[in-house]
């Protein structure tokens, strides 16, 4: 179990230090600083073992969060906890910066007391936490004894994530399918590796304790349902997707998922992540990058890059950024592009080409002349891949939300009364093309 938790700033100064168990001494704080933060070689492994003590760390905007333990803990659990911790902090005070941490240190200690108990992770649901950990302090007249006991029973109850007795005038539900698509492509256009990791995020403003059911075009579910009507299978078979693996929010009834493949749950109030999944087959690649690199003698390099958008013309991609690496001996760059803005960024050794918006089924190109300084080094340029960033309003995995039904037997509103919104956002993960 987690023995202690420390937060350091970029210099390695300790901002937050909370020790949960006796086996972690004060010197553990220094051990991590000396061996990881100030190490001569950059430490790339997120887990470091120093003197039979394990340190698990994540970095958030130059701040280090480190969980320490002397026991053989489940590393995945520790990291899951650290991510959750970051989410909780972000939900309370926004960006995790040194200043924000310093300004909220009382709050952070309070949170740490709540979400970790003797090193065991506890309820880390933001919504639930916000009911009893508030920044403005608790005034006695606001919170009656009844309310307090209600909190206790909720937190310790079966459905710890949802408070009873919530009422909304408008029952609304927002559903976001957020995906990031990763690609590595050969210069000839062959896909070397590609996968999509996606999340379904919900924001619910529903009264009472509604029971929800979520359906999507998962291959297994479709096939199971299609058993009865054979022709439906063939019709919808095309659109169904194969999900490699998925994880769910704690509110989802896993027993039901196992037996009926249906996702049913009582959602917590406000924002939460319903599920996470990964697919590797039949991925829609929103953009195609066609590089052309020509070496003209020893001192010149001509680069031409064409990008083609490969989705419905009615959709608009946004925040497109193409990063073309330049050789290490670049002495000057001239760029011509028809669309967007391109600039040579010396500090990153790359040409960065930015386009604000681009519709589907279009293409655009950039050409650059790179002047090189002759060097006496015989090493050839390694030609790192061209990488790309974008945001498109579609799900590259092909995932479709088929339905989201809400049942609330106690309060009298039905599925039709709920206003539901769904949107798809596909972002680039590591989207690279070799040149």
């Amino acid at each position: 179990m987690i023995g202690g938790l420390f937060i350091y700033n970029h210099k390695g100064e300790v901002l937050i230090s909370r020790v949960y168990r006796d086996d972690i001494g004060r010197n553990a704080v220094d051990a991590f600083r000396v061996n990881v933060i100030h190490a001569r070689q950059q430490v790339r492994s997120p887990v470091t073992n120093i003197a039979r003590t394990s340190f698990f760390h994540v970095k958030r905007s130059n701040n280090w969060l480190a969980a320490v333990t002397k026991q053989n803990v489940n590393a995945a659990m520790v990291f899951e906890f650290l991510y959750k911790m970051c989410d909780v902090m972000a939900a309370y005070f926004g960006k995790i910066s040194e200043e924000n941490i310093k300004n909220n240190f009382v709050l952070i200690y309070e949170l740490l007391d709540e979400i970790l108990d003797f090193g065991y992770p506890q309820n880390s649901e933001t919504g639930a936490l916000k009911t009893f950990i508030t920044q403005q302090g608790i005034k006695s007249q606001h919170q009656t004894k009844e309310e307090q006991s209600q909190i206790t029973s909720q937190v310790t109850g079966q459905i710890g994530w949802q408070r009873e007795g919530i009422k909304y005038r408008r029952n609304e539900l927002f559903l976001d399918v957020l995906e990031s698509v990763n690609l590595l492509m050969s210069p000839q256009g062959q896909v070397l590796s590609a996968h999509v990791s996606g999340r379904v995020v919900m924001k619910s403003y529903l009264s009472g304790m509604p029971e929800c059911k979520f359906g999507m075009n998962d291959k297994i579910v479709i096939e199971k349902q299609g058993k009865g009507t054979a022709d439906e299978t063939s019709k919808s078979g095309k659109q169904s997707i194969a999900i490699d693996d998925c994880t769910f929010h704690q509110c989802v009834r896993l027993s039901k998922f196992d037996s009926e493949c249906s996702i049913s749950f009582i959602p917590p109030d406000e924002e939460f992540e319903l599920m996470r999944y990964r697919t590797t087959k039949d991925i829609i690649l929103p953009f195609r990058v066609i590089p052309l690199v020509r070496e003209v003698g020893r001192t010149k390099l001509e680069v031409k890059v064409v990008i083609k958008s490969n989705f419905k013309p009615s959709l608009l991609a946004q925040k497109i950024e193409v990063r073309i690496p330049t050789p290490l001996n670049t002495s000057g760059v001239q760029v011509i592009c028809m669309k967007g803005k391109a600039k040579y960024k010396a500090s990153e050794n790359a040409i960065v080409w930015k386009i604000k918006r681009m519709a589907g089924m279009k293409e655009s190109q950039i050409s650059a002349e790179i002047e090189l300084l002759p060097t006496n080094d015989k090493k050839k340029w390694a030609r790192p891949p061209i990488s790309m960033n974008f945001e498109v309003p579609l799900a590259p995995s092909g995932l479709k939300v088929r339905y989201l039904k809400v049942f609330e037997p106690k309060l009298n509103y039905s599925d039709h009364d709920v206003i539901k919104w769904a949107r798809y956002i596909g972002r680039s993960g590591i989207y690279e093309t070799r040149c």
Binding site: K11, N329, T330, S331, A346, S347, E348, L373, T375
Partner: protein, 938 residues
């Protein structure tokens, strides 16, 4: 020298450095550096000319980035350009960059050398200094090649400034150290010696360093430096401390120079000229006198400087070893230091005394300090000082004080540091043996030794005890009695059991008369230890038992019972089991006479150098103790003229079986653990450590070489240690050869390095590539090395395979010719009779034909000859020659550059037992070589 004024600082550089220091993270730092590098690259692009200042600034930034740990692959040219600037700061930065960054194989080296040359010729002392410093800092072979001729000229030129001379001397020293072969000796050497008379003390100091190094290599050329050095030294020593101004260091005049001069004098024997000699003696006396004076300053630097000169003077005195008076004074001086507060001084004093002890003049004087040294041994806190004290005790030991010293060492051993225990044990063992007047004392000492530090007593020590006891009749009885008593202790070390077992087995009868040590008691005593011992010791004890059977027939039954027990007869260890079975059988079948003959007392060991001594030397490295040891042996040669027995002659060195052989019925011949007899005594091995150049070709390798002309696989070389096998295949002009090195011994070969040596001619015509092999070859193991061969053009010589390795302590060197011959690249061609004669005629040019007539060395068998011709590589053409007795062959030699057609004809003459061999090829040298090779075969 133009100082760097404040306005001259580079603002851009300062800003850049402060930017980097303010970076919050590694990533930010890398970003900043990338940006700066891009900026510098765009500046260096070459479309605009840069002024000297910016060039200097950017080169400085590059240097800073490099020192931060990033690779720099441009800007070298700009740095070289800076060298031609006339401003000091720019030139300085240029040289700095080059010393740090330019590697010797750069193509810029010519430009750099040119710039340096210009600076050396500039007559501007600052620039010359910068250039010399750069040469010395780089100090590569290329630099040496370019400037080794130039620098001596600058050094001895009359008009060179002092500071430049100083730099030149040190620069030359550096070049001489890296590549001594490139520094030409010439008439400048005699003029360098005169620099010792220079006005400027800096020049003298630098020159002394140079001369000392040079004189170590060529003492003859610098002989004149002795008198100059002496006079310079006497001027320094006699000068008042204020005379030398800058060179007086805490009231000591020119200590560094004095030390260097004294070192220089240590390269030579005492001067012969009595005047010089007198002067030197005066100097040394003066230095010794000064040591007695009260210190002029309380500062530690003062005493350090003074003592440095003093110790160097003492080592000169010791080196000369000719002035008894000085030696004794030095010894007394050191004696004072022995009780000094300063630990370093005590250490140095002990160390110097060690060498003093070996001089005949001062040996007695050293001995007077014995109490102090023993005291140091007991009370000193620092282990390294205690170690020196042990060394000194060892060095000062002789017959008169041996008993005392050995006793002290023994008592110290109980508390001694673990790291030096083994060494002390060896020393005690040696001293006890060497100065033993009374061998009972010796036996007592060694047994004591085993009792106190049994774990540190190596095999050699107890072998030695046994050798001595066996060779000396007078101590045998005493030894038997003592070990018997020692064995009665409840817990005794295994080494003691070994010694006890061996001695009682040999001489147990000498104490059997005493009822307290009756045969049965002896046996039970030994057998009570049996189960606590390791296998080799048990094996030894079994031999002791069978010896008891011979010595005391009355215990025969008991012993047979023991041998017959399951734990012996069915022992898991083969050696023990075999011994038990054989001894049991021997005791039952053999008559008493046979038993008495087989189990006779061991004969005395032949005289040989003590192996313990060799071991001690090995431990300390050959150079440190050797001289001392040598001297000691000479002095003590007459002290103990008695037999100096050797480690048991045949197999006593191999662990399990000092007694296996004494019976002569060891089942397998004991593995030869020691080096083969040819390599001489152990002592010699230690000295023959230096790897010599390639050994002469191994005998018999020529024979083997000839055998391989017609075949590709087989054993190329074999001796007691090593076997070299070959396996090779050739196709057209390429070939591959596998060389197998087999270690025939049971010990590991170390530093095993095979090298292929090709003459220059051969290298051009034959390209060989090898992979290195593992430097350690285990006993009985075989390693393989592949050689890739390409024939570039025709060749006559063969490459030599030189193998060096260390076996046991000895250095082995084997050279064999590797059978890669021209005919290996033969491709056979079949052709009809007509074609053959047509081509034969085409090659009618007299140079193309080579004929040789020779006597047959082997019986003239047609089939064998045919096989040989095919093995040679050419096709054997049947029914071509009108005379069926003749052999005809054809083939093509493939080389990278050319293909050479080749026809041959061999005509045997059975009556005369002669052959006539005719070869026609398109190239004269090829015909010649093939003819040579082939004619050897028949």
């Amino acid at each position: 020298m133009p100082a760097v004024s404040k306005g001259d600082g580079m603002r851009g550089l300062a800003v850049f450095i402060s930017d980097i220091r303010n970076c919050k993270s590694k990533e930010a730092e890398i970003k900043r550096i990338n940006k700066e590098l891009a900026n510098i690259r765009s500046k260096f692009k070459g479309d605009r000319a840069l002024d000297g200042y910016s060039k200097k600034k950017y080169v400085c930034k590059l240097l800073f980035i490099f020192l931060l740990g990033h690779d720099i692959d441009f800007g070298h040219m700009e740095a070289v350009n800076l060298l031609s600037s006339n401003r000091y700061t720019e030139k300085q930065i240029g040289y700095l960059f080059i010393s740090v960054l330019v590697n010797s194989n750069s193509e810029l080296i010519r430009l750099i050398n040119n710039a340096i040359k210009n600076d050396l010729a500039s007559r501007n002392p600052t620039f010359m200094g910068l250039a010399l410093h750069c040469i010395a800092n780089v100090g590569s072979r290329e630099m040496a090649e370019a400037f080794a001729g130039e620098i001596p000229r600058i050094l001895v030129a009359g008009d060179t400034m002092d500071s430049v001379k100083q730099s030149a001397a040190l620069c030359l020293l550096r070049l001489y150290r890296t590549s001594p072969d490139l520094v030409p000796m010439g008439d400048w050497t005699s003029r360098v010696v005169h620099l010792l008379n220079d006005q400027h003390l800096g020049v003298v100091t630098a020159a002394t360093s140079l001369i000392t190094t040079l004189a170590q290599k060529n003492p003859e050329e610098f002989k004149t430096s002795v008198s100059l050095a002496v006079s310079r030294l006497s001027r320094i020593v006699t000068s008042a401390s204020t005379d030398l101004q800058d060179y007086t260091y805490y009231f000591v005049p020119a200590p560094w120079l004095s030390v260097k001069l004294l070192r220089l004098l240590q390269c030579y024997p005492p001067p012969e000229d009595p005047a010089v000699r007198g002067r030197l003696t005066e100097c040394l006396e003066a230095i010794l006198n000064k040591a007695q004076e009260p210190p002029k300053s309380k500062k530690v630097q003062h005493s350090n400087a003074k003592n440095a000169v003093l110790f160097e003077a003492i080592s000169l005195v010791i080196h000369h070893d000719s002035e008894p008076n000085l030696l004794v004074r030095a010894c007394n001086q050191l004696g004072q230091f022995l009780q000094h507060r300063e630990t370093n001084l005590r250490y140095l004093a002990l160390e110097s005394m060690c060498t003093l002890a070996s001089s005949e003049f001062s040996h007695e004087a050293v001995k007077t300090h014995i109490e102090t040294v023993i005291n140091a041994l007991k009370t000193e806190r620092d282990v390294s000082v205690r170690q020196r004290a042990v060394d000194l005790l060892y060095a000062m030991c002789d017959r008169s004080n041996a008993q005392q010293i050995v006793a002290e060492m023994l008592s110290y051993l109980e508390t001694a540091d673990y790291s030096i225990r083994e060494e002390i044990v060896l020393k005690v063992a040696i001293l006890a043996e060497k100065y033993a007047v009374d061998y009972t004392w010796y036996v007592d000492t060694i047994l004591n030794l085993i009792r106190i530090a049994g774990d540190y007593v190596s095999e050699e020590v107890w072998y030695r005890v046994i050798q001595i006891v066996i060779n000396r009749d007078d101590v045998q009885g005493y030894a038997a009695k003592t070990v018997f008593e020692a064995l009665q202790a409840s817990a005794c070390h295994e080494n003691l059991v070994k010694v006890g077992g061996y001695i009682l087995g040999e001489f147990g009868n000498l104490i059997a008369g005493d009822p307290r040590s009756s045969p049965l008691t002896q046996f039970h005593l030994l057998h009570s230890k049996f189960h606590l011992c390791s296998v080799p010791t048990r094996a030894l004890l079994l031999s002791t038992y069978i010896k008891f059977v011979n010595l005391f027939p009355e215990v025969k039954g008991t012993i047979q019972d023991v041998l017959r027990s399951d734990s012996q007869l069915k022992n898991a260890d083969v050696e023990l089991q075999q011994r038990a079975v054989e001894y049991l059988r021997l005791s039952t079948v053999a008559s008493t006479d046979i038993l008495a003959t087989v189990l006779e007392e061991m004969p005395p060991f032949p005289e040989r150098e003590s192996s313990i001594l060799a071991k001690l030397k090995k431990k300390k490295g050959p150079s440190t103790v050797t001289d001392l040891e040598e001297a000691k042996r000479e002095r003590s040669a007459d002290v103990n003229g008695g037999p100096e027995p050797a480690p048991a002659s045949t197999s006593a060195v191999s662990t399990p079986s000092p007694s296996a052989d004494l019976l002569g019925l060891g089942a397998a011949p004991p593995a030869p653990a020691g080096p083969p007899p040819s390599s001489g005594g152990l002592l010699v091995d230690v000295f023959s450590d230096s790897p010599s150049a390639a050994a002469p070709l191994a005998p018999g390798s020529e024979d083997n070489f000839a055998r391989f002309v017609c075949k590709n696989n087989g054993v190329l070389f074999e001796n007691q240690l090593l076997q070299i096998g070959l396996k090779s295949e050739f196709r057209q002009n390429l070939g591959r050869m596998f060389i197998f090195y087999g270690n025939k011994t049971s010990t590991q070969f170390l530093n095993f390095t095979p090298t292929l040596i090709c003459s220059d001619d051969l290298q051009a015509n034959l390209s060989l590539q090898t992979k290195p092999v593992d430097p350690a070859v285990d006993g009985g193991a075989q390693v393989q090395q592949a050689v890739n061969i390409e024939c570039v053009s025709d060749f006559t010589e063969a490459p030599v395979l030189n193998i060096q390795f260390r076996y046991g302590g000895t250095f082995q060197n084997v050279s064999v010719k590797l059978p890669i011959t021209l005919n290996k690249f033969f491709q056979p061609t079949e052709m009809a009779s007509q074609d053959f004669f047509q081509r034969w005629k085409q090659l009618s040019n007299p140079q193309q034909e080579v004929q040789s007539i020779f006597k047959a060395k082997h019986p003239m068998d047609t089939e064998v000859t045919k096989a040989k011709i095919i093995g040679f590589g050419s096709a054997l053409l049947e029914e071509v020659d009108p005379n069926p007795a003749n052999f005809v062959g054809a083939g093509i030699i493939h080389t990278r550059t050319a293909q050479i057609g080749c026809l041959l004809r061999l005509e045997p003459n059975l009556q005369a037992q002669m052959y006539r061999l005719t070869l026609r090829t398109s190239r004269e040298t090829v015909s010649q070589r093939l003819c040579e090779l082939l004619s050897e075969q028949f």
